[in-house]
């Protein structure tokens, strides 16, 4: 089981992802520079958090044109599991692999804190081992995580059950005050129609050990390992 963590200029959570996947979970991980045109035969691709290209123009807008992204798009189209965390989620939106866009947080502030996420579906490549309604505690760290989709797309996301995570209170109830960045419908993470591409603003890779405050993020990373083991996702690398 091999993970590729893509490194864009300005990525700063690439080593967090590397640490969680390699040191904590014990998997083979390769850091793939954004100028590469291959994914080193990886089974799973992670687009990490950070500030690719200094967030110039819009978050993720320039990273989407990196050479490696052509390969990531092909990998996703072939059924390969792709996880976009924070800036990685923003890149997936700009690349059109997931629907919607990001606005500045409603408070205009960069928010760095732990939030509660309710798992909405457990049939994606990255939530397979979680249960619907389960509440996970993970940190967020972003200035532009205010997710937006128009009403028609939102209806479609709901119909196809593509909303994967929502910001909630610790007991899993929806509370607008807990929707810290102002996202439409308190959306924290979504998946594509084929359910192999997942993007979320919170950081599961920074919540894999109790010593850092939470290990709730492990279920996200372990899910894809399990999905792979039982052949639920296609080896596309």
């Amino acid at each position: 089981m091999k993970f590729a963590v893509v490194v864009f200029p300005g990525s700063n959570c690439d080593h967090d992802a590397y640490h969680a996947l390699a040191s904590v979970l014990g998997h083979e991980v390769v850091l793939v520079w954004h100028k590469e045109i291959h994914l080193s035969g990886a089974d799973v691709v992670v687009l990490p958090g950070g500030f690719s290209y200094g967030d110039y123009l819009r978050t993720g807008a320039i990273a989407r044109f990196s050479p490696v992204m052509t390969r990531v798009v092909e990998f996703a189209a072939a059924g390969g599991p792709v996880l976009g965390i924070c800036n990685g989620f923003q890149v997936l939106l700009e690349a059109g692999l997931l629907p919607g866009g990001m606005r500045r947080n409603k408070t205009l502030k960069f928010i760095c804190e732990h939030v509660n996420l309710r798992v909405e579906v457990s049939d994606t490549a990255f939530t397979k081992l979680a249960s619907v309604g389960q509440v996970l505690r993970m940190p967020i760290a972003h200035g532009e995580g205010n997710y937006y989709v128009d009403a028609d797309t939102l209806r479609e996301l709901k119909e196809r059950q593509q909303i994967v995570f929502r910001y909630t209170a610790p007991d899993g109830s929806l509370d607008e005050q807990r929707n810290v960045n102002g996202s439409v419908d308190a959306i924290a993470g979504i998946c594509n129609r084929d359910r192999n591409v997942v993007g979320l603003m919170p950081h599961p890779e920074r919540a894999c050990e109790d010593v850092v405050g939470s290990s709730d993020g492990r279920v996200v990373l372990e899910s894809v390992v399990d999905a792979f083991r039982v052949g639920a996702v296609a080896p596309a690398g």
Binding site: L57, R58, A61, L93, E94, P99, G100, G101, M102, R103, R104, N105, K106, T107, L108, N146, Y148, V149, D150, G182
Partner: protein
């Protein structure tokens, strides 16, 4: 030829930065400014024979890169 591209959030999208600026203007006493929408402005130098040609290129790059059609709209002016 010079192309000017103005990118703004779609009218339906809340602009928190614009709201903050509106609030600051209130503090300064400009109560007549009811609302502010913040956007981006780009100047492109385009090699083109005709205005139409420059316009086509500017519209294309605005659509593909300068604006995110999910949340933003744009307007092009050629000089």
């Amino acid at each position: 030829m010079k192309a000017k591209v103005f990118v703004t959030l779609k009218p339906s999208i809340l602009d928190p930065q614009g709201k903050a600026i509106t609030g600051a203007l209130r503090t300064l006493g400009y109560n007549s400014v009811c609302d502010v929408r913040q956007g981006k402005y780009f100047e492109l130098d385009v090699e083109a024979e005709t205005v139409t040609e420059a316009e086509t290129v500017a519209n294309e790059v605005a659509d593909k890169l300068l604006a995110n059609p999910v949340i933003e709209s744009y307007r092009v002016e050629i000089e």
